[in-house]
Amino acid sequence: MLMAKLKIGDVKKMASLSRLTLSEKEEKKLLNQLSETITYVEQLDKLDTSDTSPTYHVTGLRNIFRDDKVTPGFSKDDAISQSKNTYNNYFKVNALLNKS
């Protein structure tokens, strides 16, 4: 396994991928705590798994289908009832594209 030496840049990158805004103090604290946890989990390296396949689902279900039946869903009112930011019965989101 990689002997991870986590750097502050990694913490910033993870925060950006996770869409989290962290203070400098939080970044430093996380650097220490995440390094500690990563060091801990790296003990798995001691186990030889070269002949072992991964398990993603424990009860072995495969290709579960259900009937393609139309059933009633939420009304528009219900669907937007919990949003704090709506406009004319739509969810309002931040602009993704800048005006050119």
Partner: protein, 471 residues
């Protein structure tokens, strides 16, 4: 003693025979909540109209054989706050969802409502179920009914404490790794974590999707069997819920353990405090007396399960919490608490390009090794008995600044969780400070009936579960 102290089966019997009404039980439970909840803080939100609901149920109870259709008719229950309840605030004890009122019910909640249960309120938990103390709740810490300076455990700490303190007749928890068994252990109640997929996860706020299991927290083993009968089954809304036929969990409850082989592993006993290990060995003598054979077995060192669990859980958390953007419901991502941020960050790291093979894939491979290890063990023994937790309830404040507190307190339940196995916690006595000690019974997948039967045999013989905390 009020009606709030009844077990589920006693309450149902009394309702059936007209000894008392649902309204009587609900009033006593609400009275108890008023009396002790300021101290214990089990609930984050109480339902408004329980008495009115109880009166409606009392009308229904007059019908003959109504309990066949509605097995929980008129029973007040507590539900962990990560179950979506239509029209009733559901926060997962997080600031992100502090005002969230779901427009739908979780499948388990629908089943409970269809069965006639009355949801008295939603219980406190570690925020997003991230923890084993309730201390990471964004709102407040729940206290242990046996000693209010101690933690109730978690993440289903509010449900466990509400059952142990007789605020309700039964509680609903959910477990990813330990979140039912560990608080049940620290609060001295019964906690059943079913096989992965035995109970639908639909509408339960997702934490680790390959691990999450809804389950009951109850005063007796018989009550847990009765609850699982209501909760279990396949669900078109959760493709991972098993299609396998659901047992009648009450059927073999009283068949005893004669001739059974019970496995015990030093790898598990050595992790627990001496007093707890001693208690478990004494409990095994009870089983021997009842005709079971005890067999020493070797199991995969549980310390590896901590590492596997940490990687899988953090990874799945980072993906599941990705949906909270404050657009459709809830607050924005700035509202995540410290623990959630830490978990999202580590999960993102484990899943990110270049690290996936080293962490997530590696963990999933070791998961296979753990599964195979249990399969081997269950060729030799019928069930495995172990301590549920390495220590009894720890003091309030113990989890602070310990990024792996939960993982370490849940070391003895993580291996079985990773393998998707069911596990049952029951109270097996008390330590020198009077805090409950929990014993867990682990079995192969879908062996809930067997676990309940083994638990029931011990309960009949010892009756620790009938003891009540003084609050």
């Amino acid at each position: 003693m009020g009606l709030n102290t009844l077990t589920l089966l006693e309450a149902i019997d009394g309702l059936k025979t007209g000894k008392f009404t649902s309204r009587d039980i609900v009033s006593d439970c609400l009275g108890r909540i008023r009396e002790v909840d300021a101290k214990l803080k089990c609930f984050v939100n109480l339902a408004d109209d329980c008495i009115k609901e109880a009166k409606e149920k009392d009308e229904l109870i007059k019908q003959t054989d109504i309990f066949i259709q509605k097995p929980l008719l008129g029973i007040p229950i507590s539900v962990k706050d990560n179950y979506c309840t239509k029209g009733l605030k559901t926060t997962a004890s997080s600031n992100v969802l502090k005002d969230y009122i779901p427009p739908y019910d979780a499948t388990v909640v629908s089943k409970l409502r269809d069965a006639g249960a009355i949801i008295a309120g939603k219980t406190n938990m570690d925020a997003w179920a991230h923890g084993s103390s309730t201390e990471t709740s964004d709102f407040f810490t729940t206290r242990n009914p046996w000693n209010t300076e101690r933690l109730p455990g978690g993440s289903s700490g509010g449900s466990a404490a509400s059952v142990a303190s007789d605020e309700v007749i039964v509680g609903i928890g959910s477990e990813t790794a330990g979140s039912i068994r560990q608080p049940a252990s620290w609060c001295g109640t019964v906690g059943l974590k079913p096989t992965y997929g035995r109970v639908s996860r639909y509408g339960v706020i997702a934490m680790g999707s390959s691990l999450d299991c809804p389950g009951p927290i109850t005063k007796t083993v018989g009550d847990a069997a009765y609850m699982l009968n209501v909760m279990a089954g396949s669900d078109g809304m959760d493709a991972t819920a098993s299609e396998r036929k659901v047992d009648d969990y009450g059927k073999s409850l009283n068949m005893g353990v004669k001739g059974m082989v019970i496995g015990v592993s030093d790898q598990y006993l050595d992790v627990a405090e001496k007093e707890i290990a001693k208690n478990i060995l004494e409990s095994l003598k009870v089983y021997e007396k009842l005709g079971a054979k005890i067999k020493k077995i070797d199991l995969f060192n549980p310390k590896y399960a901590i590492a596997v669990y940490t990687i899988l859980q953090r990874s799945e958390v980072s993906s599941n919490l990705g949906r909270y953007d404050g657009v459709r419901y809830g607050e924005g991502r700035e509202s995540f608490g410290e623990e959630a941020k830490r978990r999202i960050m580590l999960g993102t790291y484990c899943l990110s390009a270049g690290y996936y093979d080293a962490y997530y894939l590696k963990a999933q491979k070791v998961r296979t090794m753990i599964i195979k290890d249990f399969e081997r063990a269950f060729k030799e023994v019928d069930v495995i008995i172990a301590p549920t937790t390495p220590s009894t309830a720890l003091p309030v404040g113990s989890s602070k600044n310990h990024p792996m507190f939960g993982e370490v307190s849940d070391v003895l339940v993580e291996p079985s969780t990773i393998a998707g196995l069911p596990g049952l916690n029951i109270n097996s006595g008390f330590d020198r400070e009077g805090l409950p000690i929990g014993m867990q019974i682990i079995g192969p997948q879908f062996s809930e009936s067997l676990l309940l039967r083994v638990g029931k045999a011990f309960e009949k013989e010892t009756n620790y579960l009938a003891l009540k905390p003084k609050i």
